[in-house]
Symmetry: C2
Subunit: 342 residues, 2 copies
């Protein structure tokens, strides 16, 4: 029998109808044994160090079944960086650091570790494995390079551009020789995009009455690639401004996660007349590319050729607020919760 | 100086706001010399035999600029089968039969014959080069095989399935081992789909209150490939019923060409959650595949392994009515106008 200790958890209290509130989640203290129980072959027991707040969470705390909803009264399945305390699998050993699917609690028994990677390079900040070196980094890489094949001189528009994924998409696209414009929801974020992340241009979408006019201003000759994280009216404006053979990588549609009536997109006829390709993707289907991605991105980080900004809150107790903040756009950069430093 | 003779033309009288009427086009008798005038290097003079009525025409008689509108008071640029009367190009000789871009009139001086192909195989009905052996055939081929890569056992839905393109998509998909369901707008067309074109199932969309429910009935396990010719509410219902990694080849959106307010599609979030690829294409960008296409399709026709139905009207005077009929769904099969038999 392992030691039984207390385990603070963030659990889902009720399914969210429209806007998520902190009270939709509850903090609960449970107990957990620090040893894998018998009958749990294939499980890994971890201590969570960093938990990642990602927009997909918002899809799963609703009951609409676009993707399977979370279970009520349970911790949320999220990405995190964790330390292995006990393992029944030969590829994970006690003391290993890992990143991948875990849950919103201090300690997790991961019964089905299908998305769990051992961390080999410990020279870089561990929290980066919730972002630039983890799922968001892979998402930026796959969406931009695998789906959109950017060519030198092409124009790229990134919405939600200061977030975990957007900031990387913009920098990857710049490194591919593209002209890159991003949008975000505050002056501070726009400054970040232009002055820190090296976007060619950036604008505050909240100050634009007419997205169509804004995009025409920044892309007088049209958009070749759109990295889509917003949906709705923004997508409609982008389609109006796309060039022939434009490509849209659908990574998210955050504007649509939190509203009762989804917005219609009225100009899909442009897909036909401009021969546009629009494609959704799920990063978990592309993890075979992870080693290739690390080969590209680790040197960029070590040589300081890429900038990465995190917004870190302290303690598992801060997680409900951090999740709610994703929607109001409160976070600047990748939203991470530190649960423990080691 | 060549002989000057009368040339009946169908010209565009005014741009269409909502539904096209016969009176939006006018019949006019002009004059033409049956010789290429000096200063028209690169031109070909043809006598039009068959003129093709295709849904894209409806996009160009409106002024919305999804694609460049036709010029007022001019014959419409359409596909046709023609006989060369005079040529300034070495690859076309007097007496050659050709298919490609011509105009809605008896004789056309084609100044810029960028889409014009010599007809080599004359064993087959000449009118077929406006359909199964021409642009619609290539469109079915490119959309299905190049964009959607059908695999044996996959499910395919074809809307506007009894039209020039739809009937071919269905038969090509059957030949690839797919389960194929089509929809059309009358009992007669549905019978054609099931009994003549060999679709596994077919339904009359006009009798369905709820497209979503209809598709669930025919595709209980979902749709892998959608050959899109309709748009709007039908597209929305299809996205709800698509399987993961579904593919949508956007060939047309005929429901949207003739209405004032385009319909919104509200569930594009499915592109993300089901990793759907949706892609518009233009057949004219794929004509390098035409010889490969002919290699496939000509034997199918000669061995009677494929069925092709045309709806032929007589005389250039019938063209405005035939174009209007495309929208009310009056035609059964490919709509062709015979202008002259030789």
């Amino acid at each position: 029998m392992g030691e039984e200790i207390s385990n603070k958890q963030v659990i889902l209290n009720n399914y969210v109808k429209t806007s998520v509130k902190e009270s939709d989640m509850l903090l609960r203290t449970s107990k957990i044994q620090l040893k894998i129980p018998s009958g749990c072959d294939g499980a890994v027991l971890v201590k969570n160090l960093y938990l990642s707040c990602d927009p997909f969470i918002l899809l799963r705390i609703k009951e609409e079944h676009y993707i399977p909803p979370y279970k009520l009264d349970c911790p949320l399945i999220v990405f995190g960086v964790s330390k292995v305390l006990d393992s029944s699998l030969p590829n994970f050993k006690t003391g290993d650091l890992v990143w991948g699917h875990t849950r919103s609690e201090e300690y997790s028994l991961i019964k089905d570790p299908d998305i769990l990677f051992k961390i080999h390079d410990k020279d870089l900040p561990l929290s980066y494995y919730t972002g630039i070196l983890g799922m968001p980094g892979m998402t930026a890489y796959v969406g931009l390079f695998e789906l959109c094949s950017p060519k030198k001189g092409e124009t790229v528009y990134v919405s939600a551009a200061s977030g975990a994924i957007g900031q990387l998409v913009g920098q990857f696209a710049k490194s591919a020789g593209c002209y890159v414009v991003g949008s975000a929801g505050s002056k501070e974020k726009v400054d970040l995009l232009k002055n820190k992340f090296g976007f060619d241009e950036a604008f505050n979408y909240k100050e634009e009455q007419d997205y169509n006019a804004a995009l025409k201003r920044y892309f007088p000759d049209g958009i070749d690639i759109y990295f889509e994280s917003v949906g709705g009216k923004m997508l409609e404006a982008v389609l109006s401004n796309m060039r022939h053979h434009g490509r849209v990588a659908v990574c998210g549609m955050i504007s649509q996660y939190n509203i009762e009536q989804l917005e219609g997109v009225h100009n899909l006829l442009y897909l036909l007349t401009k021969r546009i390709r629009m494609e959704g993707f799920a990063t978990f289907e592309h993890y075979h590319l992870y080693p290739k991605f690390l080969e590209m991105v680790v040197p960029l980080i070590k040589e300081e050729k890429i900038t990465y900004v995190e917004d870190i809150t302290q303690g598992i107790e801060s997680m409900p607020g951090a999740i709610v903040g994703l929607f109001s756009g409160r976070n600047v950069g990748k939203q991470v919760v530190v649960v423990a430093r080691e």
